[in-house]
């Protein structure tokens, strides 16, 4: 495909990706592992759905060459293995020299299709400005927790190209987590448990929320639910819509009481949104006054809010080190949009429908705006993609590499000290 050739040739930021995934092992320090990058697995998806796994490259130009030969329309990043993936067959499956993952970023994948039961504007692969805010609030909740609760610092959020976001946690501690530990983090984030077979998919037990859930609720979810979500989705405005919510209330009497109120409501002059808000207030008041009736009613209001707004991550993606995930800055094959980084501090401003597409970028090149040079200080001169690459470098890559250098230096130093101590005649 011609446009993929152009992308591979001019637009994919090889050097930046290589710098990132080398985590400071650039050979300039004696403590560097010069083979580190070469042990990373990549996979290519070519035209005709040909899928090539276990690709590895010894440096940035080897990676660039391979991409320019194959023109993959999707590139995935896997784990760093104990040995070069390309040479894995030379190693036994047991014994000390095993082919096994040794490092891998902690990753998360949030896809808006998992929210189809709570969005009314779109379904399936579509996304619009009314439902995208679900992704925004998901980023806020997860990002805050990764930093405050888990203490991670080097976090990259990326637009998946069509209808979701990916998160790459790159701290060294995160990269060395075992599958069991990753699973634990994913489960910590899990609240929504269900499918079409059960009605109450969020069950918040106990007498209060865990501090993480409480903070998420107070800082993000409650206001989002009562504000933007209601405005965009009007979740109480029709019988079909409000029945879904009534089903979440485990007490039949309360359901009946509310149902009667709403079914028999006179045709009011209120807008959909105002009606929806009014009904929410009624529901809250009813539930708060009756919450002593049963343990399952105690946090019913919160459960409803969580059902509609709390992040739904794909657990399987996070749990295993060998799971591959699409590389940032790829182009999504169906939308043509570039998988650009998202600034979590400004995620409210991110618009998935305004992300540059490959055709736009090519147009830009062709019309002579060859300002691919990102080192240009003038923001306005920067190309569409240049802004994203610049953000990637300044907010993510630079602090990350600084920290990696420090790690390499200190572990090198302690190795030297250790060998000094063990010196004996």
């Amino acid at each position: 495909m011609l446009i993929h050739k152009i992308f591979a040739g001019k637009l994919f930021p090889y050097t930046d990706i290589h710098k990132w995934l080398s985590y400071g092992h650039d050979g300039k320090h004696p403590g560097c592992d010069e083979f580190y990058f070469g042990r990373r697995e990549f996979s290519f998806t070519l035209e005709n759905d040909v899928y090539l796994r276990y690709k590895s490259f010894k440096n940035a130009s080897a990676m660039e060459d391979a991409i320019k030969v194959n023109f993959p329309y999707k590139i995935d990043i896997g784990a760093v293995y104990s040995v070069d993936p390309d040479k894995r067959h030379a190693y036994a499956q047991s014994g000390t020299n095993v082919f096994t993952p040794v490092e891998r970023e902690l990753v998360f994948d949030i896809d808006i299709t998992d929210y189809d039961d709570v969005r009314y504007c779109c379904s399936g692969a579509d996304v619009c400005s009314k439902c995208w805010p679900l992704m925004t609030v998901a980023i806020k909740v997860i990002d805050t927790s990764l930093r405050e609760d888990f203490g991670f610092k080097h976090i990259l959020w990326v637009f998946s190209g069509r209808r979701g976001v990916h998160c790459w946690v790159c701290d060294v501690k995160a990269r060395r987590l075992t599958n069991e530990q990753r699973s634990a983090v994913a489960e910590y984030f899990r609240v929504y448990k269900g499918n079409e077979n059960n009605a109450r998919k969020v069950a918040l037990m106990g007498h209060s929320l865990h501090p993480f859930l409480a903070r998420s609720y107070v800082d993000f979810l409650k206001d989002f639910f009562e504000g933007e979500l209601q405005a965009n989705q009007s979740i109480f405005s029709s019988k079909e819509k409000y029945e879904k919510i009534l089903e979440m209330i485990s007490d039949e009497d309360i359901q009946l009481e509310l149902r009667e109120k709403w079914e028999n409501a006179a045709r009011s002059s209120l807008s959909e949104e105002a009606t929806s808000l009014a009904r929410w207030e009624q529901l809250k008041n009813t539930l708060y006054s009756k919450k002593q009736k049963a343990p399952s009613l105690r946090m019913c209001v919160e459960e409803i809010v969580f059902t509609f707004t709390y992040p739904r991550i794909d657990l399987e993606v996070s749990k295993q080190m060998n799971h591959l995930l699409k590389a940032p800055f790829c182009v999504h094959p169906k939308t043509g949009r570039v998988c650009v980084p998202i600034d979590p501090k400004k995620c409210d401003e991110f618009d998935p429908l305004a992300v540059p597409t490959l055709s736009q970028l090519i147009e830009e090149i062709n019309s002579g705006g060859l300002k691919m040079d990102v080192d240009d200080d003038d923001e306005s001169e920067r190309s569409l993609l240049g802004k994203s690459v610049s953000f990637f470098r300044s907010s993510f890559l630079e602090p990350l590499l600084k920290s990696c250098k420090e790690d390499i230096e200190s572990s090198h130093k302690s190795n030297i000290d250790k060998s000094k101590d063990s010196f004996s005649w």
């Binding site: 609760d149 888990f150 203490g151 501690k173 634990a184 269900g194 007498h207």
Partner: protein
């Protein structure tokens, strides 16, 4: 540890310094009589099997504590404390040899030994527990004074979120890197901040169990290596036959080989699904017929079940293909689904012949959006479950009995009651495997003349 014939055993050295709960880090130097080698292992195996049964029956932690205490007294007790300790240690190491020899055996042994350890630890008093924690060399710091004060509110919130009304926190908390307590993090049972988890004294169990499991897991790999490279050959006239005999006599049937009741042909499959499948598989089967698709979890659970029921690979491929191609093209089926069916039958990849899932595994799965696997008694809402039971033909009285079991989280008992209601008979053994349900059902529906014992 050295095994010798009929010579007097010497007591393990330094019994006083070993904590009452051995951690099995190293095989201490001691001599064991050959007869004891086997007998000790058999007694411990009785305990592990009892633990396995208890877990399969869905016993809660307190019930498991009692069960372990009873099992231990019955099979492992000795009037002399140091003799008891010897038996404990010896039997563990012998069983390591027995259960290191395949992935399935390792998995079972690891699960049971960890569960055994967990409940023995819970039965210890606080001082003994602290001593055990210390034995693992864990880096944990006690949180006191001003730091504890500043965290009081958050810690109280955690306590309340776990069910206690009053937010009184314990007097001792430990600050531990979150990755050392994955179970507690996963269940949101601890407050975490900047990468540290604040673990209550009473939650120490989780800490040590994780350590224990990890240590035994590594040990099993090393033992396997030693077994295959030296021990098996060296001991082929002495210990090896004993070791090889021990594992097969005590595990329950795993339904990896179907027997004479279980040859189903494709043309009968709809009939047989209606008459003999347990609810979980019926649901998956019906959804497959309805949607012409199942997600991965469902394909695994149903696919392996059908294998256990006797569906041959060629028939399985035809069956799945017939359904899936109603929605996706034949090429897509071959490319995306045929491979994993063959994989399940051990014909691809590392060629493991996967065994059908037992109830314990199915109950603990986590079906998500669009999934239909799992255990309906656990994962369905009340209404959906009642509707499904109604379709199985249960009367309203029978249904209440089943729903009562479900309310008390006794999912396998609920399934057993369903079985009893559907076939009008008792099932004393209790259902703990979907293929067992199928076989028992077939025995009733198609009684054969008894064959001569093989």
């Amino acid at each position: 540890m050295e095994v010798i014939r009929s010579q007097k055993r010497t007591a393990s050295n330094d019994a006083a310094s070993i904590p009452t709960l051995p951690l099995y880090f190293t095989a201490p130097p001691m001599e064991v009589r050959l007869e004891e080698f086997e007998l000790f292992a058999i007694d411990r195996l009785r305990v592990l099997k009892g633990v396995s049964d208890g877990l399969a029956r869905g016993k809660n932690p307190k019930e498991m504590d009692d069960l372990v205490s009873t099992l231990w007294k019955e099979h492992m007790r000795h009037s002399d404390v140091s003799e008891m300790l010897n038996k404990d240690i010896i039997s563990h190491f012998v069983l390591r040899l027995v259960y290191c020899r395949s992935d399935e055996l390792k998995k079972w042994f690891l699960s049971m030994e960890t569960a055994l350890f967990r409940h023995r630890f819970r039965l210890q008093n606080f001082e003994a527990q602290r001593a055990t924690v210390g034995e693992f060399g864990l880096q944990y710091k006690a949180v006191t004074g001003a730091e504890l004060e500043s965290l009081k509110e958050k810690l109280g919130q955690v306590v309340r979120s776990l069910g206690q009304i009053s937010p009184t926190i314990e007097t001792i908390y430990y600050k531990v890197p979150f990755e050392e307590v994955p179970d507690l993090v996963a269940g949101r049972r601890v407050f975490i901040q900047k990468g540290n988890a604040f673990v209550a004294g009473s939650q120490l169990v989780s800490l040590v169990v994780t350590q224990f499991r990890s240590h035994i897991s590594k040990a099993l790999i090393l033992t396997n290596r030693k077994w295959t490279t030296t021990i098996r050959e060296r001991e082929k006239d002495r210990l090896t036959p004993i070791v090889e005999g021990l594992s097969s006599s005590y595990l329950g049937p795993d339904y990896s080989q179907s027997n004479e009741y279980a040859d189903i042909s494709l043309k009968d499959i709809d009939q047989v699904a209606k008459s003999s499948f347990p609810l979980c598989m019926r649901h998956l089967f019906e959804k497959l017929r309805e949607d012409h698709h199942l997600k991965h979890g469902g394909r695994m659970q149903l696919g392996l079940f059908l294998k256990g029921v006797g569906l041959k690979l060629e028939d399985a491929l035809a069956f799945w293909r017939a359904e899936f191609t109603k929605k996706v093209g034949s090429e897509k089926f071959d490319k995306e689904y045929a491979y994993s069916i063959r994989h399940n039958y051990g014909k691809e990849g590392k060629r493991t012949d996967y065994t059908p899932y037992a109830c314990q595994k199915i109950i603990s799965s986590a079906p998500g959006v669009g999934d239909h696997h799992g255990c309906p008694y656990r994962h369905f809402s009340d209404d959906n479950l009642r509707a499904a039971l109604g379709r199985m033909g249960l009367s309203s009285r029978g249904m209440e009995d089943v729903m009562d079991k479900v309310r008390n989280k006794h999912y396998q008992l609920a399934c057993t009651m369903t079985f009893e209601a559907v076939y009008g008979t008792t099932c004393d053994a209790g259902i703990n495997h979907p293929n067992q349900y199928f076989e028992e059902s077939q025995k009733i529906l198609k009684p054969k003349t008894p064959t001569a014992p093989v």
